[in-house]
């Protein structure tokens, strides 16, 4: 396996190179950008043996096609966009080998909005200001500052070591639902809203509109009243998840491509643990906001982060069939094909109801 390229045959609706974001330059007005679903990026990178913040291709809504020049270990995580490798459905949240010349095609959304294609070695475009993330609005990152186009060839880095086939355990996978409950840490400008306005926000159902993008999710629902109708504040900095309420009283949750500063009052900030689900929310999804203390939100985020980073991944190696001849009787057994089929191992074999320990060792072809 060598570092090859992923060629964009078709970018579909929107395909972008994204990593963990361009941290450290917001004071110069440079947006963070980065993967919308940060958990899917992290888990995808774990699956292929990359560091958690390596760059991947973020596919929005599907319709995209990538072709691998060399055999490459890849994983597809995040939203289910009906991915197929050379026509065969791809197992989601698993790493596997994409053969040289194979083509990964995305249909349409079957749950979630954004899928991540992580390749062992990572997408190795030239970093700009410390990051490969694309911020199309300011023309930074990716291949030439914009969304991927047909014909683009994305270099793939050299994998650090031979990645094995792995699977994310079910317990770590997101639960897709069309009715979200999002934790919110109040402030910093909750005082800009009337008591009734704040109650409306925490007791109403809001709907994700189709005027939502990487900058933010615009919600429709009951109007949140500001004190004296003053929704404008002296512009200040915003974060991933800031809930700003402009003059129409309808909340907007700011996401990865948000501008660095904003001039509308922010009633609260969506808790880190709730952001990945929001990043995957299709128009029509409903959301309710649930007040959380900063301490509770931090405890939840720490727990989630240690689960994401430390939960052991499952072996997803395809099993290989062998025949076992015991005193003239043939038994079929299946052995995982990883990490190295030639390694000696001891397995349990059920022979006519008796469990026997059998040592298996390759003796060459």
């Amino acid at each position: 396996m060598s570092a090859g390229t992923a060629k964009v045959i078709s970018p579909g609706a929107l395909s972008l190179v994204q990593d963990a974001g361009r941290l450290g330059y917001q004071k110069f007005g440079v947006s963070l950008s980065g993967a919308m679903d940060t958990e899917a990026l992290l888990l995808g990178n774990r699956l292929v043996g990359n560091s958690p913040d390596c760059a991947a291709v973020e596919i929005t809504f599907g319709g995209a096609e990538l072709e691998f020049s060399q055999e490459t270990v890849i994983a597809v995580t995040g939203g289910d966009l009906d991915a197929k490798l050379d026509g065969t459905p791809v197992p989601a949240w698993e790493s596997f080998r994409a053969p040289a010349g194979s083509s990964l095609v995305f249909g349409g959304p079957a749950g979630g909005m954004r899928a991540y294609v992580c390749a062992a070695g990572g997408i190795a475009t030239e970093p700009v200001l410390g990051s490969r993330s694309t911020h199309a609005g300011s023309g930074l990152g990716g291949l030439d500052g914009g969304p991927l186009k047909a014909g683009d060839e994305l270099p793939i880095g050299e994998p650090s070591d031979e990645p094995s086939a792995l699977r994310i355990p079910n317990g770590l996978l997101p639960h897709r639902t069309s009715q979200l409950t999002l934790g919110v840490v109040p402030g910093p400008q909750q005082d800009a809203f009337t008591g009734d306005g704040v109650s409306v926000f925490y007791s109403s159902e809001y709907t994700v509109t189709d005027r939502s993008d990487r900058q933010g999710v615009r919600l429709d629902g009951p109007v949140i009243q500001a004190v004296g109708d003053r929704y404008d504040i002296v512009s200040d900095a915003v974060v991933f998840g800031s809930v700003q309420v402009p003059g129409d009283g309808k909340p907007i949750v700011l996401l990865a491509d948000r501008q660095t500063t904003g001039g509308y009052a922010k009633i609260g900030v969506v808790a880190s643990v709730s952001l990945p689900a929001l990043a995957q929310a299709a128009p029509g999804t409903t959301a309710r906001f649930e007040r959380m203390t900063v301490q509770d939100a931090q405890a939840a985020a720490r727990k989630r982060m240690s689960d994401l980073l430390e939960t052991p991944l499952e072996d997803a190696s395809p099993a290989r069939a062998f025949s076992l001849n015991v005193s003239g009787q043939i038994h079929e057994i299946r052995l995982p094909n990883q990490p190295d089929p030639n390694t000696a191992r001891t397995i349990q074999v059920d022979i006519n109801g008796e469990i026997e320990l059998v040592a298996v060792e390759a003796i060459g072809d």
Binding site: V239, Q259, Q295
Partner: protein, 244 residues
């Protein structure tokens, strides 16, 4: 001066000094930013100073809101605005601007709106020093303070889809410069050949907060010459440590 430390979600804290746009408050914000940097607090990953507050983003695996606010509390309690003689000693950036004509298509609108001649608008706009309060909105975009109300003008009813980088505009009683090509609704009165943002430069923004910008009228011909120098990488931003 009084300040408040507020959570901005579970991974950032906001230190707010009042709610007004004024140089003294803004000085405190930048003084605190320097103090936080100097203290190299564990877990702090990014600082975003704005008009009257400092956003401190942190890694919540390394620290927490309570612990961080204790640190910020003592640092913010100690910051003082620079002494008065320092406040006036700002770096002054001289930004050449070709006013009017094709490069400033809305100069006449601004003049007519205010009952002035085009030359009067140019004289007023280029006669003042503008404090850079913060960068934001787009890479390298400076929020400038101190424009004369006599040249204030509402935004365009229909924003332009594409404004060339360097466009100098007026919106209500604000003036600003678009660093890169972008859509925009400001009244464009001129253009500077200077590049305000370059991702290969360090720092990437040409105009930094705390400095003062002065616009210097140049002819279209001079604009062309300067633009050629900028494009060839031979232009050096003109600035001086001047006592205002």
């Amino acid at each position: 001066m009084d300040f408040k430390i507020l959570p901005a979600g579970d991974a950032a804290a906001l230190v707010e000094f009042g709610d007004r746009i004024e140089p003294e408050t803004n000085d405190l914000v930048y003084a605190l930013a320097s103090a936080v940097e100097a203290a190299s607090i564990d877990g702090v990953v990014e600082l975003v100073p704005t008009y009257r507050s400092l956003l401190v983003q942190y890694d919540l695996q390394a620290t927490g809101f309570q612990e961080l606010s204790d640190n910020l509390q003592s640092l913010a309690g100690e910051v003082r605005a620079p002494a008065e003689e320092d406040t006036s000693a700002k770096v002054v950036i001289r930004l050449p601007v070709a006013y009017g004509g094709e490069l400033g298509p809305d100069l006449d609108t601004v003049a007519t709106h205010n009952g002035l001649t085009q030359q009067e608008v140019i004289d007023i706009h280029s006669g003042a020093g503008y404090r850079v309060f913060m960068l934001g909105f787009a890479p390298g975009f400076p929020y400038l303070g101190g424009m004369d109300e006599r040249i204030a003008c509402p935004r365009l009813k229909t924003p332009r889809l594409r404004l060339p980088g360097g466009s100098v505009g007026i919106a209500e009683s604000q003036t600003g410069v678009y660093p890169n090509d972008s859509p925009g609704g400001w009244q464009i009165i001129g253009r500077t050949p200077v590049r305000l943002f370059d991702s290969h430069a360090d720092p990437p923004a040409a105009i930094l907060p705390g400095s003062v910008v002065r616009f210097e009228p140049v002819t279209e011909e001079q604009y062309g010459q300067l633009k050629a120098k900028v494009d060839a990488g031979e232009y050096r931003l003109q600035m001086e440590g001047e006592t205002a």
